[in-house]
Symmetry: C2
Subunit: 231 residues, 2 copies
Amino acid sequence: MGNNFLHNSCTVSLTQTQCFDLLSAEEMQEIEENLVEVSYKKGETIAKQGSFAAYIICLSKGLVRIYVENFKETLILKILSSGNLIGLPSLFEENNVFPYSVLAYEDSSAKLIDINVFRKIVKNNAKFAYKIIEILSANTIQLYGRFFCFEKKQSYGRLADIILCLSGYIYKSKKFELLLSRKELAELAGMSTESVIRIMKKFKDEGLISENGKTVKIINYDLLSKISQHG
Amino acid sequence: MGNNFLHNSCTVSLTQTQCFDLLSAEEMQEIEENLVEVSYKKGETIAKQGSFAAYIICLSKGLVRIYVENFKETLILKILSSGNLIGLPSLFEENNVFPYSVLAYEDSSAKLIDINVFRKIVKNNAKFAYKIIEILSANTIQLYGRFFCFEKKQSYGRLADIILCLSGYIYKSKKFELLLSRKELAELAGMSTESVIRIMKKFKDEGLISENGKTVKIINYDLLSKISQHG
DNA sequence: TAAATAAAATGATTCATGTCATTATTGGTA
DNA sequence: TACCAATAATGACATGAATCATTTTATTTA
C-alpha cells in the first residue's frame, strides 16, 4: 500500500462482502435466516448515530454517506457504495450503538444482519474474524488519509480530491453525472458551499473540468491530480 | 459509549494488553519465544511509516506518539502509554508496512512480537481475534472523535482538549509536570507553536491554569471543559 | 561563569476561507 | 405559462490563525 493512502481525502471502500466466502454452509444459512432486506430512498437515514445497533448493514445497492454529527455540525467520514459492510465498530457489546449516522445519497438497499448472529460467528470462526480485522484495518488506514488531507491540504486540493474520487472510484469514468449538489460537495470536501462554487468556477475557467448541466467531464486530469497532491 | 467520543480531540487508548489473557498456555509460550524487548530513549523513532512491519509492538513502558507524515508535514493520530498494542493495521499480509510512524515522547520500552506468530494465533483463536476487533473498533471510534474535533473546534477548544487529556488520562492529576514543549503541544493540538503560546498565556491570564516552571495546574476545570466542548 | 543554543514570548502582517447579503438561474408544479 | 422554491452564483466583508521578524528567557555545554 505504500504511503499513497495519504494522497486522497476521499474515502470509498472497495468491495468487502467477499468475507462471506469464508463462512460454512450452516453459518451462511444462519445469516440468511436472520437478515432482512430493506430499501431506502435518496435522502433517507439508514442508521442514526447513538441509536442501538441491532444489525450489521450490508449495502447491496446504491451510495451512502457515513458521517458523525453533533447538535449543529456534521463531518462526513466516508462514502460507500454497494458491497460494503456498515456498523462493524458496534460489534462488541460494550459499544453497541452506531458511532455514526448513515444516509442514502441515492436510492439504495441493504441487508440488515442480526448483530448477535454476526457476532456469534465472528467469535467462532477465526478465519472470518481475521477477514473482519482486515476490513477494519483498511478502513482505519483510509481514514488516516482523509484526516491527513483535511488537515494539511487547502480547499483546492480537497475539492480536486473529491472530483477525482467520484470519477475514479464511484462512476469510473472521466465524464459522469454529478448527482451531488454544491452543498453536498461542500460537506464532502469539508468547506462552505460558496467555496465549492468559487473553486468549481475556477476549475472550469482554467480548463480543468467542464460542466454541461449535471454532466462533469475531467479535461486536464494531470493538472487536477497535481492540485490534489500539492494541496 | 454514547456520543461523547466526539468531545475530545485527544486520543489516548486505555490498556489493551488484557487481550493476552485469551491465549492458551502454548500460544502464550509461542509469543514469548518470539519477542524481544527493546528500550527507546526520548525522541527515538520506534517505527517508521512505510517500513516493513515485522512485528506487533506492545508498549510496556513510556509514552509515544503515533503520527502520519509526508515529506513536509506531520499529523499526530494519537498518543499511547504503556499497555497498548501498536501496528495492528499491518496485520494482514496485503498491508504489511506500518501506516504510521511511532516516536518515543519519554523513555519507553516495548515488546516486539513477531508478526507472523501473532497473525497465526489470530487466525486460529477466534476469541483472541474478536478481542483484536474490539481494540481496532475502539481505536477507530476514538479517531472519529479526534477528526471531528480537529475539523469543528477552533484552537482554544483543541488546546483545552489536550490539557484536559494530559491531566485526566496520562498524568491522572490536576497538577502535573508538562514534559512537552510548546512545539510538541502545537503538533498535538494541530496548530502553530505561536498559537499555543498565545493561548496558554490567555489561559493563565484568565485564571484557568497556572504554571510554575514545568508544573501545570488546572485551576478552573469547569471553564476549561466548557471551552473544550464549545470549540 | 560565559558563551552558545534552544525555547518561549510578542507584535505586525498576511492569507485562506467562512459569513452575510443579494441576485440570477434552474427545475418542479399548480 | 407562470409561479415558487431550491440551487447556484457573486461580491463585500470579517476573522481565525499562520507566518515572519525580533526579542526575551531558559537551558545546555564548553
